[in-house]
């Protein structure tokens, strides 16, 4: 267990108020759209009304007549610099601007550069594009049929729409386990295409100094360092050089994975800045954001479980079709085309399992990003948590009992899963028991039975999820070859204050507070005396950024290690300062903020005194200063877990689902800031409620987006959100320096199946086994009416 620090120091376990909120609640944040540069121009984008069409011509004449319009950039313009295509993080290719055809409705077709945003918008209206519509492929299953049009005819030799096949596990052994099992259940589970819909859309300001060759880009990115390297690699041939590229990620209004990719708009803005010699701002609007920026999920999963008749799980088999849109623009680690989907055995002790995923091209926007999720973990958890309920119904057991019977036991950790992950720590039954006690599970079951007698519809749903976060160990994890370590550079000033810079980038997570608390914990310097900086590639150490709940497991650990290095040096300085006491380093003990003499605890020096000495009175032979760097390569991932229980009531007349109660028990190991953890869980739960009941990106058969604004992309508000009840168990990670695990995404991952299971449970006596999310009122109504239930 970690040492206690005083509230003044504010180390781990203290609900320190968020340092960053002082500026946010005053409206003094500094977002990309707040950046204004002298002579700045504005860029706006012409987008395709067709999901698949050949571009016959682009006529810019009328646009160039609009007052204030300076230039119209097309694919042909970029082609001259070989910048019309760019690589995706999955080593696929994506058009910056098309020269031949468009592949989804809303795709970038041309860009207008103007002296004002209004002129740019007028210019976009005036660009005339002639299209020849082509056959549209929207259904990923049809995309794989032999007669389907080949969408990616730009790829030489491509004869179908298949992107990749990935599989894990022993297919034959799993098949045998299914043949020998008492009971098998199967269920198709679709996790719909959704969008992060962060409150801030994407954009950038690009500025190029034609004399020095310096490019500065303020942009909405979760991974500024990786972006810098990508820019250098992709545009090296036009003269961009990594030491002259500066990426600044200022305050970010929500990322959730949607600000990891490089979008065409960024590249066009950079090209426009280089060509015009003026700073260029590009900020997309909400409709552009929803219809063109990377989607998440869109997994069609056929899942099966084999079990004994007493509910003992024997084998899991999942076959998945992944609709990636027109290019695989996921942001997974390179070796994981299906992300960490192999966490799909979940919290259960499976001896046999096999999973496979096939990626498919369609005429939809590209993506496959990890929306508040560590790379396809949400998909995996939804499949297993739904299937366990299907099995429970099949064998006539309570879903809680099936889970408890099959949990990986608390004494089995570290646990090697059948898919070869080493789960670091867990106590799954402990979390479920706490959730059941908190919500009064047995009483709810009694109430449900009574209500069923009266014809009222009430359901209870459980989700006992296990996550896999904190990518990741360098032996497995890289993005475009860049290993997924993360970093901290810590510098203690003479007056005992400190600045710590990290390779990650907060988008609302509260890093300025939690990182300061980590260093406060290790050094005893008050968290309020520690400035945390991120997001500027000129000052921060190299890191892979913030997504996949990796900041605390990687950069947070780097902070602890760097602070430990500083403390080691501080010990030597302390011994020097206590020379008169005739002590050596070995005679010194540490308490938060102070070294003291073991035999005489009254004698000691504080970290602040040591800091001053490091610059004013350091030992001869030792370098002055007090600073350290850590590039932390995690030995393993961390495996946060939890058990959620949801109670729903269903309106028989309208089919509306009301979440009456929702208890979330999370275990993210040792907790740095309980208030921030609670906030993360609240936000995550709401983002789990969203796809469970509301959100879906829908398209018509021609590929037109039907939910391209907040009119039809239904982000829940406070009104729709129930009063979450949260609690924690604490099972420290054995390998993380602080015993911590990631927490940012547990609730997004764990909530949807709890809600879906509750709704299905409410209807299970009617024979209902599954409903795909989002569970909208009209879907429920159809089921009710089919069963003759009405008001």
């Amino acid at each position: 267990m970690v040492a206690e620090t005083s509230p003044e120091i504010g180390g781990m376990g203290h609900s320190v108020k968020r340092k960053e909120d002082a500026r946010f609640i005053r409206g003094r944040g500094n977002y990309v759209d707040d950046i204004v540069r002298p002579g700045m121009l504005y860029l706006d984008i012409v987008r395709s009304p067709y999901a698949h069409a050949r571009i016959k011509s682009i006529n810019s004449d009328a646009a160039l007549e609009v007052e204030g319009v300076l230039a119209v950039i097309t694919g042909e313009t970029l082609k001259e610099f070989n910048l019309h295509w760019m690589p995706t993080l999955m080593s696929d290719t994506q058009m910056v601007l098309p020269v031949d055809k468009v592949m989804f409705a809303g795709q970038e077709v041309a860009a207008v550069v103007a002296t004002s945003r209004y002129a740019a918008a007028d210019g976009v209206e005036a660009v005339e594009v002639e299209y020849e519509p082509l056959p549209v492929v929207m259904d990923p299953f049809k995309a794989l049929e032999p007669d389907a049009p080949v969408l990616r005819d730009d790829k030489e030799g491509k004869t179908d729409n298949h992107i990749f096949h990935w599989e894990v596990g022993d297919r034959d052994a799993t098949d045998r386990a299914f043949e020998e099992a008492d009971v098998t259940v199967s269920q198709d589970v679709y996790l719909p295409r959704i969008h992060v819909a962060s409150i801030e859309t994407c954009g950038c300001v690009a500025e190029f100094d034609s004399v020095t060759g310096q490019l500065t880009v303020w942009m909405t990115t979760q991974a500024p360092h990786a972006i810098r390297t990508v820019f250098a690699l992709v545009a090296g041939h036009v003269g961009l050089s990594e030491e002259k590229i500066r990426i600044i990620s200022p305050d970010i209004g929500g990322g959730f994975g949607g600000k990891v990719p490089v979008y065409p708009g960024y590249v066009i803005a950079v090209a426009a800045a280089v060509v015009t010699g003026h700073p260029v701002k590009w900020i997309e609007d909400r409709i552009e954001n929803l219809q063109a920026d990377s989607f998440a999920r869109d997994y069609h999963m056929a899942a099966e479980i084999a079990a004994d008749s007493d509910g003992t799980l024997k084998a899991l088999r999942i076959k998945t079709l992944a609709d990636h849109g027109y290019t695989d623009a996921a942001c997974n680690p390179s070796q994981f085309p299906a992300g960490l989907f192999s966490i799909c055995t979940g919290s259960y002790d499976f001896q046999n399992a096999f999973a496979e995923v096939d990626g498919v091209y369609t005429n939809k926007p590209p993506g496959g990003i990890a929306y508040r999720c560590s790379f396809r973990v949400t998909e995996a958890v939804h499949a297993i948590e739904r299937l366990v309920d299907v099995l429970a119904t099949e064998v006539g057991m309570d879903p809680a009992d099936v889970r408890k019977k099959n949990f990986i036991p608390a004494d089995a950790f570290p646990y090697q899963s059948v898919f070869d992950w080493e789960y670091d720590s867990g106590n799954y039954e402990g979390a479920l028991n706490l959730a059941m006690e908190t919500i009064g599970y047995d009483e709810l079951r009694r109430e449900q039975a009574e209500k069923r007698e009266r014809g009222e519809l009430m359901g209870i749903g459980i989700s006992s999820f296990t996550e896999i976060v904190g990518a990741g160990p360098s032996r497995h994890f890289d993005i475009l070859g860049l290993k997924m370590f993360d970093s901290c550079e810590l510098r203690v000033h003479p007056t005992g204050k400190a600045v710590a810079r990290f390779g990650t980038k907060s988008q609302g997570q509260g890093h300025e507070t939690t990182y300061a608390q980590i260093i406060a914990q290790e050094l005893g310097i008050p968290a309020s005396d520690i400035a945390v900086e991120e997001g500027d590639t000129d000052t921060a150490p190299y890191g892979l950024g913030t997504y996949a709940s990796r900041s605390t497991p990687t950069a947070g650990a780097a902070g602890a290690v760097a602070a430990g290095k500083v403390r080691d040096k501080a010990r030597a300085i302390a011994a020097h300062l206590l020379e008169a006491e005739e002590v050596t380093e070995d005679d010194l003990e540490w308490e938060p903020g102070r070294f003291f003499v073991r035999s005489d605890p009254e004698k000691g020096v504080t970290i602040q005194e040591i800091a001053l000495a490091a610059y004013t009175n350091h030992p001869q032979g030792m370098e002055a200063g007090l600073e350290a760097v850590s590039y932390y390569d995690p030995p393993n991932l961390t495996f946060p877990f939890g058990s959620y229980i949801c109670v729903v009531d269903i309106d028989k007349g309208t089919g509306e689902v009301h979440v009456r109660r929702f208890v979330a028990v999370d275990d993210c190991g040792n907790i740095i800031n309980p208030m921030i953890v609670e906030g993360q869980v609240h936000g995550g739960l709401t983002m789990g409620l969203a796809p469970a009941l509301y959100e879906e990106l829908s398209y018509d058969e021609s590929g037109n987006p039907l939910s391209a604004s907040f009119v039809d992309y239904l982000v829940p508000t406070a009104v729709e959100t129930p009063a979450w009840e949260t609690a924690n168990t604490v099972t420290p990670s054995p390998h993380h320096p602080l015993g911590a695990k990631g927490i940012g995404e547990s609730a997004t991952v764990g909530a949807p199946p709890a809600i879906a299971n509750a709704v299905v449970d409410a209807l299970s006596h009617l024979g209902v086994r599954h409903i795909d999310i989002p569970i909208t009122p009209d879907k429920v109504w159809s089921i009710l009416r089919e069963n003759g239930i009405t008001e």
């Binding site: 706006d44 945003r117 209004y118 740019a120 918008a121 007028d122 209206e125 609007d285 909400r286 409709i287 007349g653 309208t654 089919g655 509306e656 509301y694 829908s698 039907l706 939910s707 009119v711 039809d712 239904l714 982000v715 829940p716 508000t717 009104v719 729709e720 909208t776 009122p777 009209d778 109504w781 159809s782 009416r785 009405t790 008001e791």
Partner: protein
């Protein structure tokens, strides 16, 4: 999400506004609360060359009872209806609806007259005023005239207002003793347009229903008056069988289109469910 260019006028009297409309003819659009027109302009689905902004015409706002009528000025904000004690105490149907129009931001700006003149079939006030048997006052180059709500609402986003005319006020008959009303709205989330919504107003006299008004929101090309349901209720004892029969007739009167909110069948059944719920509440409110 950037509108095209337009000319902007902000008159302070109704006469000035009418003169501006006369001057600019079909190029001009009246701007009231702007909660529909401005989004349409930002999407460039509407590109009026001239906007005549009524927000400075103070005489168009207000809520009062006079001459047996409730008079609501065209520029009265939804939030004013929501907060009005007069509305809360005597016009529960309006109070119900005013609390569920879009969201608080829209209600702070959106206006009664703007909503009716926009004639969106999903507009809540169209069915409310239909159920209440309201009429609207209109000013124009030919002078003032009065239209019943049924005469006003012509079709989807179409009214019988002539070019150059301004809707100035809404007049609702004061309720007789034994009256009650209610609004039931089903929406996917707060701020959404209704999947379906139903406004009902009934009057009970001597144990039976002496008058009934039922308006349907968002289930047809325009606001729908469920006339057969009204007729069936009138003269009935308002028992549950009568309410159910009226709800079935209201559903039959609806003409919904399928969209992401649901199928035609779903919406039609929602009209039935919501009508029944609204009638039950209205009967309760009518008392005795």
């Amino acid at each position: 999400m950037i509108p095209g260019q337009f000319e902007y006028h902000a008159p302070s009297t109704l006469d000035e506004a009418l003169a501006l409309l006369a001057e600019h003819g079909s190029d001009a659009r009246v701007l009231a609360g702007g909660q529909s027109l401005i989004p349409l302009m930002k999407l460039r689905l509407a590109s009026p060359a001239v906007l005549v902004d009524l927000n400075g015409v103070d005489s168009l706002s207000g809520i009062e009872e006079s001459d047996g009528q409730l008079r609501i000025g065209a520029m009265t904000r939804h939030s004013a209806l929501e907060r009005s004690e007069l509305i809360a105490s005597r016009y529960p149907l309006i109070a119900d609806a005013a609390a569920v129009i879009a969201d608080p931001l829209v209600r702070n700006r959106g206006t009664t007259g703007g909503s009716l003149a926009h004639a969106d079939p999903a507009g809540d006030l169209g069915s409310v005023m239909t159920a209440l048997g309201a009429e609207v006052g209109v000013a124009g180059p030919g002078g003032a005239r009065t239209l019943s709500i049924d005469e006003l609402l012509l079709g989807p986003f179409m009214t019988t207002l002539d070019e150059g005319e301004i809707l100035t006020e809404v007049r609702v008959p004061q309720p007789e003793a034994g009256s009650g009303g209610a609004y039931e709205k089903l929406e996917r989330k707060v701020g959404d347009f209704a999947t379906a919504a139903v406004a009902v107003q009934i009057t009970r006299a001597n144990g039976s229903c002496s008058a009934a008004g039922i308006g349907l929101t968002a289930v047809g090309p325009t606001t729908i008056r469920a006339s057969e349901a009204e007729d069936a209720l009138t003269g009935s004892s308002l028992d549950d069988d009568a309410l159910r029969a009226a709800a079935d007739l209201a559903a039959a009167a609806s003409d919904p289109a399928a969209d992401l909110r649901g199928s035609e069948e779903y919406k039609r059944d929602m009209v039935r469910v919501l009508t029944l719920r609204a009638l039950r509440r209205a009967v309760e409110r009518a008392g005795g």
